[in-house]
Amino acid sequence: MNLKGDKRQSCRIVRMRIRAYNLMVLALVLLMAAIAPTVKADPVTSSEYQVKAAFLYNFIKFADWPGEDTADSNEPIIIGIVGKNPFGDAFKPIENKRIKERQVIVKQFKGLGEQEKSGEKDKDEIDKQIEAIRKCQLLFICSSERARFKETVNLVKDYSVLTVGDTQGFLDSGGIIKFVMKENKVRFEISITAANRAKIKVRSQLLRLAKKVVGENEINGAED
């Protein structure tokens, strides 16, 4: 009788252990579930552009412009955004930050299509805007300008402007860096050919991070 009792008791202990294990697993799952939404929600919504905004800043850090060394530090680094601005207030946390000891200013430009729509009236203003665009160090061309990528890129073709976009076929249109989404993470592709044309030297660190590098064999030539 005693033996049976002992057995029953030991069985109960085992059962209790199993139950405790299950509880722990459950708690873990719940914890994961609690953390997961924040991670996931970020890139899908506005946070994607926050990351991209940060990336834009960082691109400046990993690229060298001709004559940059001798440039006046009072002259700001201008990030231009062409087209329908998807960033919202994504630049806010990085406002007032200095890159390469220079102030960074974000400027909004109208897309070419928009310019044309209203531009008939003021041709000078358009020229002025183009001039301003050409003075940018980095130009983000929004997906709204998809139809006029080539045109827009061509505007700054002979100027050292790092063009960045996040639309399919951007690199083919002569853009230098293109954002891609991979496994919900923001990644990018780089066209060395375009960079060389713009006389912008993309650092190898950046190149290494790129998911795709176009005109890779031209790196050496560019460096020479």
């Binding site: 990351v51 990336f55 960082n58 850090k61 990993f62 930050k97 200095r98 890159i99 390469k100 000891e101 993470k185 923001v186 990644r187 990018f188 650092r203 660190q205 950046l206 290494r208 991070l209």
Partner: protein
């Protein structure tokens, strides 16, 4: 240090050298190892820091673009550095961005706590933090951990090498110091040896040998000098000791003698005390048991202090009746003069110890004669007179009777002496007449007398001569003692020579004085008579063709013993007494003309001087007459002569 104090100097030196060497080496080793470990650490920190910086540089982009994969890849570059076991990158928000574990080190290395920069050693690891700065902005941190194991192993190896070196050099140092310590310890040890020898054998003449002119050399010099001084002192000390010993011996001897004397004195004193006690006892016994009466009186007051039983008997009073009484009660009134008795006063005055005569009276009034001998004694500081009384009443009476008898005897004796002399003297006169008449007849009637008549007449003359000689002999004998001569110093050698001359012995008889004779005090004629009679007898009776007469003398204790020896006919023993009697001759008068008085006179003279005379003889061989003469007081004995003659 106290441990070292009792070590041999050799070991001390070795120990000091070893300690110095080992300490130096140890210190050098420790400094070297700690320095090396420091350098190692520094290098390691540098190295790891460089690595970290490289990683930081390479991770900048990855961080900037949030590419953890790339960061991880960058970290994979650490693979080339085997010592780095862990690396990680923290993002700006201090969250782990990427990690790297060397092989399976994941199990034992956990990501360290975040730190912005710096390095630390813990748990056998070096952890280095490096900030990742991009364009002046901190974007993350790199952390690297390096395993210290290899470094420690290296340190261990180096320590091992250093210990080995230490051990080896210690060994070399030990061997060298064992050899070289002799330079210092050698002279000291030899000095110590010498010191030990000196102190053990007490031989201060040994000297230590100097090895050099260093401090030890100086010490040895000083030691030798000291030894010399000690030697000198020792000699002096030994000398002083010997003197002292002699003195002590003398003293001891003196003391012993003194002690012995003291012991003897004590013994003598004890004996004296004992004697005194015995004497007292003896005195008491004598006093109590004396037959004579003894009275003891106070010398000043005359009061009787003590008396013995004989005394009570003498005076017929009890002792109690006598003690405390005055001594005069003992005597009758005619013997008392003033307060005391006459004899008491006399004894007290000047007749101590002399015997006086007095009378005493008993209680009942009976008087008796006594002789008193008294002497002054001191008993207990008091002068007492002890008188010994003897009842002489009986003696006195006897004396009176004897005196009367003596007087009578002396008268008779004198008469006899006178008679003998007178008789002899008076007898000689008629004899002379007879002889003269006979001569006349012979001369006047020579032709008328025939041969026979002549012969008868010669015989008559002869007999008359003999008669004459006899009378002379008697006269001679009676003269001995009666006639006194002066006592003089007589050299017997001279006297005997005179006697020999006088005798004029025949040529065949030799008289020899064998030994030196003494000089004595006596009446010369008497002694001459003795020798003359003895020698003439010897010559007269000599029957040998070659006669030899010897005179000898032997000194005895109290007397001289003389001997006259001849080789004549000798005397039979039965006649030894007879020959000294008057008118006795051993040979018929017709053969030898002899009166028989000679030896009698000799005997009388010798005995008069207190000597003895005797003869020793063997018939046919000869005889020796011995006589003795006392050495002193010849004259005193003369007094006895009278008595002996009288009696």
């Amino acid at each position: 240090m106290s441990l070292m104090r009792n070590m041999a100097i050799k070991h001390k030196l070795i120990l000091i050298i070893m300690l110095t060497c080992v300490t130096g080496l140890l210190l050098a080793g420790i400094v070297f190892i700690s320095w090396e470990s420091n350098v190692f650490r520094h290098n390691m920190v540098q190295n790891v820091s460089t690595q970290a910086e490289m990683i930081a540089e390479n991770c900048k982009a990855a961080l900037a673009f949030q590419d953890a994969e790339d960061a991880k890849e960058t970290l994979q570059a650490l693979r080339v550095e085997p010592s780095i076991v862990f690396g990680c990158v923290y993002a700006k928000d201090n969250k782990l961005f990427a990690t790297y574990y060397r092989d399976y080190a994941e199990i034992r290395v956990h990501p360290p706590k975040f730190q912005e920069s710096g390095y630390s050693f813990d748990g056998g690891f070096l952890t280095v933090f490096k900030p990742i700065v991009l364009d002046g902005e901190l974007i993350g941190t790199v952390c690297l951990r390096s395993d210290m194991g290899p470094m420690y192993a290296m340190l261990k190896r180096n320590t091992g090498i250093i210990i080995a070196v230490l051990f080896l050099s210690s060994l070399v140092a030990f061997l060298m110091s064992s050899r070289l310590q002799k330079v210092i310890s050698g002279p000291i040890l030899s000095l110590a040896e010498v010191t030990k020898n000196v102190s053990e054998a007490k031989d201060y003449s040994t000297r230590a040998i100097k090895h050099g002119n260093d401090e030890v050399g100086l010490l040895i010099d000083a030691f030798n000098e000291m030894l010399e001084q000690i030697q000198q002192r020792d000699i002096e000390l030994v000398d002083a000791k010997e003197k002292l010993e002699v003195r002590v011996e003398e003293r001891t001897a003196e003391l012993t003698t003194a002690n012995e004397q003291l012991t003897q004195e004590i013994a003598i004193r004890e004996k004296a005390e004992e004697d005194l006690r015995r004497a007292e006892e003896k005195y008491r016994i004598q006093f109590e048991g004396a037959l004579d009466a003894i009275f003891v009186c106070d010398a000043e007051t005359g009061v009787i202090v003590d008396c013995n039983p004989a005394a009570t008997k003498l005076v017929g009073r009890e002792k109690s009746e006598l003690i405390g009484q005055h001594q005069r009660i003992l005597h009758p009134p005619e013997e008392i003069k003033g307060e005391f008795s006459k004899t008491f006063l006399e004894h007290l005055k000047n007749k101590q110890g002399q015997t006086l005569e007095t009378q005493i009276i008993t209680k009942k009034g009976v008087m008796s004669d006594v002789a008193v001998k008294a002497s002054l004694l001191e008993v207990g500081g008091k002068k007492v007179m002890q008188g010994i009384f003897r009842d002489i009443t009986l003696r006195k009476r006897a004396e009176q009777r004897q005196n009367k008898l003596l007087e009578q005897l002396e008268g008779a004796n004198n008469e006899l002496k006178d008679f003998a002399y007178v008789v002899s003297h008076d007898l000689k006169a008629p004899l002379r007449g007879i002889k003269t008449l006979a001569d006349w007849i012979t001369t006047d009637y020579a032709d008328k007398l025939d041969e026979d008549g002549k012969k008868q007449l010669d015989l008559l003359v002869n007999r008359v001569d003999r008669m004459h000689n006899l009378i002379d002999g008697i006269l001679q004998y009676s003269r001995v003692g009666r006639v006194k001569e002066k006592q003089v110093q007589v050299n017997l050698n001279e006297l005997v020579t005179e006697v020999v001359d006088m005798i004029s012995s025949p040529e065949n008889i030799t008289i020899k004085v064998e030994s030196e004779l003494p000089t004595i005090t006596c009446e010369r004629t008497r002694i001459q008579q003795v020798f003359q009679n003895l020698l003439s007898n010897a010559v007269k009776y000599m029957d040998k063709p070659q006669g030899l007469v010897k005179v000898g003398c032997v000194e005895e204790k109290d007397f001289w013993k003389f001997g006259v020896t001849d080789n004549g006919p000798g005397i039979e023993e039965k006649f030894f007494g007879k020959i000294f009697q008057m008118f006795q001759t051993l040979v018929p008068r017709d053969e030898f003309e002899s009166t028989g008085v000679g030896l009698t006179v000799v005997k009388k003279i010798v005995e008069m001087y207190g000597g003895k005379i005797w003869v020793e003889s063997k018939v046919g061989e000869g005889s020796t007459f011995f006589f003795t003469l006392p050495k002193q007081e010849m004259g005193v004995k003369n007094e006895n002569l009278k008595a002996s003659f009288v009696s």
